[in-house]
């Protein structure tokens, strides 16, 4: 499957897709992807004026979207998932325009509708953010 098709399986759309390329995907196990950080992102003028820093919550969002791909997001809306919990998340260095985030997530456990992941985001082999998060399949909030 082509990279675009994989990412298109996410229910997300412009301007809220935070995975640029999937590098490795083992459905139900783990995924590795990249996200390029460009100065053209619309939030940089405000976060912060004269000092653009990628909001940490968007790094978490990137990891969660990759988690959705590991779960086999179909994009149909019938098995959409939502972020149910984040835990022990640490931001270890600022991420700025020009950086390339390497996103790595591992599925730790699925129980019923909930799936627990460990994830980290690296820039130049340094951990920029890491933590755990849980996605929950919730048909009621499926888009569309």
């Amino acid at each position: 499957m082509e990279n675009r098709e994989i990412i298109d399986r996410l229910p997300h759309a412009f301007p809220f897709v935070f995975v640029d390329r999937v590098l490795h995907l083992e459905e139900g196990v783990r995924g590795i992807a990249l996200k390029n950080v460009t100065v053209n992102e619309r939030f940089f003028p405000g976060h912060f004026p004269g000092n653009p820093v990628l909001p940490g919550v968007l790094i978490v969002e990137s990891l969660a979207q990759l988690g959705g791909l590991v779960l086999g997001a179909s994009g149909s809306g019938e098995d959409a998932w939502v972020l149910a919990e984040i835990r022990n998340v640490r931001f270890r260095r600022p991420v700025v325009p020009g950086d390339q985030l390497i996103l790595k997530v591992e599925l730790d456990k699925t129980l019923g509708q909930a799936s627990r992941f460990s994830g980290k985001a690296l820039v130049d082999d340094e951990v920029a953010a890491e933590g755990e998060f849980t996605l929950s399949r919730t048909p009621e909030v499926a888009p569309g």
């Binding site: 149910a84 919990e85 835990r87 730790d108 456990k109 129980l111 019923g112 509708q113 909930a114 799936s115 627990r116 849980t134 929950s136």
Partner: protein
């Protein structure tokens, strides 16, 4: 009520620590239902408990039905761990 065994206490401390409960171990009654009544834990808490029990005690909880059975109470968690040789 039988005297508290170290395993009971360890399970209670684990629950409190991982779920961030504002309780002391002695406030958790061994037979109390963890997912209703006093505690009201939810499915996300259940998953967190499964992950932490698996990692800490090197056991496997394979599916939701087993999870629900094991996580009913501190008693049922301890019984499950004992059945798998945890002391």
């Amino acid at each position: 009520m039988a005297g508290e065994t170290p395993l009971n206490l360890r399970v209670k401390e684990l629950i409190i620590e991982r779920l961030g409960l504002k309780l002391t171990p002695e406030k958790i009654v061994d037979a109390a239902n963890l997912f209703g009544g006093d505690f009201g834990l939810d499915s996300i808490d259940a998953l967190e408990l499964v992950v932490v029990l698996e990692n800490r005690f090197k056991v496997k909880i394979t599916d939701q039905a087993e999870g629900e059975r094991v996580l009913q109470s501190v008693d049922s968690i301890v019984r499950f761990l004992r059945e798998r040789g945890v002391e």
